[in-house]
């Protein structure tokens, strides 16, 4: 009964998650709204575009009921730009994730507001109540992949969304004829990107060398890349921590002592008063 999988999402689970991302389709047939557990699907009326989760879009595509509009970032020009950024502009880091999403407000034409942003109370509150209500009140209201509306369907060119590789693979395999360029061209750009970023993933570990920093940041990394390297990276970080455990305990004792010494000395030294614990 118990799940026999190690901690952390596997490639197949990540791929499942990516299928919840929204993509834009152009229906080829009418389809009435379907009452699903996750909410009603939009009515499909050719040639009106609609946004659907990837799994449903792929189902429609396989039945030739719709075409999938490839996301802007998958255009060869966008991919080439990202490769340029990854190799020339900043050969060390992953290219940055898409900028945080903003939305035009319905109640205040011409005004844009960041999604997820901490709500600043203002005199406009009553006007924007409907918009803000749903976004601000419960902790689940902060959206992140795969539920970020702008992540894939509206993701801007030049940035790789979190689930980029999974989505690109699914679209190339099942909707190759909807691509903005020959699938082979897109694929070969993606392959270059995979290679460049795999090398970055490998070199990211050298940041840990010997000095036992408390963290490692991988801004811009993709879900599939993380799944592939997760167990290794976690094992590496855990190993460094375990080898350093006694050195860490000693250091903390010494710092504690220095701090106490400072207090008793009464010189009120701010530096020695750092709060070490949580």
């Amino acid at each position: 009964m118990a799940l026999p999988l190690p901690t952390g999402l596997t490639q197949n689970e990540v791929s499942f998650l990516a299928e919840m991302e929204m993509v834009t389709v152009v229906p080829r047939q009418r389809l009435d709204s379907i009452d699903l557990l996750g909410g009603k699907t939009p009515q499909l009326r050719p040639p009106h575009r609609a946004q659907l989760p990837l799994w449903l879009a792929l189902l429609l595509k396989k039945q030739r009921r719709a075409n999938i509009v490839p996301p802007a970032w998958m255009h060869p020009a966008s991919l080439a730009e990202i490769i340029h950024r990854e190799t020339k502009e900043d050969p060390e880091a992953f290219s940055p994730p898409p900028p945080p999403p903003s939305r035009a407000l319905y109640a205040q034409p011409g005004t844009a507001r960041r999604l997820n942003h901490q709500h600043q109370p203002s005199f406009l509150d009553d006007l924007t109540q409907t918009t803000l209500d749903s976004q601000q009140q419960d902790p689940n209201s902060i959206l992140s992949p795969p539920f970020l509306p702008s992540n894939v369907a509206e993701s801007p060119a030049g940035y790789l969304p979190y689930h980029w590789l999974e989505i690109a693979e699914a679209l190339l395999t099942h909707a190759g004829d909807d691509m903005p360029a020959p699938a082979g061209e897109v694929r070969s750009l993606l392959r270059d990107l995979v290679e460049v970023r795999a090398a970055k993933m490998r070199s990211s570990t050298s940041a840990l060398e010997g000095f036992g920093d408390a963290w490692l940041t991988l801004r811009g990394v993709g879900a599939m890349e993380l799944a592939e390297n997760r167990a290794f990276l976690a094992g590496l970080v855990d190993g460094v921590r375990k080898i350093g455990a006694s050195a860490e305990a000693t250091r903390r004792e010494e710092e504690e002592e220095a701090r106490r010494g400072g207090e008793y000395g009464g010189d009120g030294d701010e530096d020695s008063d750092e709060d070490m614990g949580l």
Binding site: M1, A2, L3, P4, L5, T7, G8, L9, E13, F16, L17, E19, L31, I34, L36, L37, G38, G39, P42, H48, R49, A50, W55, L59, P96, P100, A104, Y106, A107, N116, Q118, D133, S134, N140, I142, L143, S144, F147, P149, F211, G212, D213, A214, W215, L216, T217, L218, R219, A223, L226, A234, V237, V240, R241, G244, A245, A247, E248, R251, L278
Partner: protein
């Protein structure tokens, strides 16, 4: 602007993206379920069972959807037939999420049975069914050990929760294990390292590897999520 966009803009029902971004409650449940699943799959220890009735609600919905599928199955009209395929596909996706979530929790409970049932605070993380399962499992296991070999030991050595010699027999998860999180807002992260403890200034969208013990507070406050 291409013709599709022009036509779309004439649509009397604006697409959801340009109307007030009200997220229907059904979609919220899906998002919450997904988040719970990802988090549970990503942490070394058992997380709290959601107390807001999420799973009770989801189970009811799944039951009703299964009944609906059964009703629809007789209908051979190709149009409803395709809707049925969509409904069934989605149903399977929900069932997968729920199952994987529950099995992942059972896996954690099995691994550290005594740890979770011997401590009041930890016990409350389990749902009533999970706690009953854990107790029963521990009982069966211990009796099995007693019948097969433990019974021949001196009575003082028949317990499984001994703490003699400064080593506890009760295994517990390593809370300092590395986890991966995404920052949902700019935040200061207090991190513990071997050579330094420090404060990392993180940007929204950063993916960070750190100790679960350092990440836990951020995740609970909603400043970060597990990935």
């Amino acid at each position: 602007m291409d013709i599709d966009d022009i036509l779309a803009s004439l649509d009397p029902h604006p697409p959801s993206s340009s109307s007030p971004s009200l997220i229907p409650p059904e979609t919220r449940d899906l998002q919450a379920l997904t988040r719970h699943w990802v988090a549970e799959r990503s942490t070394p220890e058992l997380l709290s069972w959601p107390s807001d009735g999420l799973f009770e609600r989801i189970n009811d919905k799944i039951k009703r959807q299964i009944e609906k599928v059964e009703e629809m199955t007789g209908d051979m009209d190709p149009k409803t037939n395709f809707a049925l395929i969509v409904i069934q596909t989605e149903l399977e996706r929900w069932k997968f999420l729920v199952r994987s979530y529950l099995r992942c929790r059972v896996g954690k409970i099995d691994k550290h049975l005594l740890h979770y049932i011997s401590n009041d605070a930890l016990r409350t993380r389990m749902s009533p069914i999970e706690e009953a399962y854990a107790r029963r499992h521990q009982l069966l296991l211990h009796n099995h050990y007693l019948n097969s070999f433990l019974g021949t030991f001196p009575p003082a050595m028949q317990n499984l929760n001994d703490t003699a010699g400064n080593i506890s027999m009760i295994d517990s998860p390593d809370l300092d294990s590395a986890v991966f999180i995404r920052l949902l807002k700019n935040a200061e992260i207090e991190c513990h390292g071997v050579d330094v403890d420090g404060v990392l200034t993180g940007k929204e969208g950063d993916i960070v590897i750190l100790r679960w013990s350092d990440a836990k507070g951020l995740v609970e406050r909603g400043d970060a999520e597990l990935v």
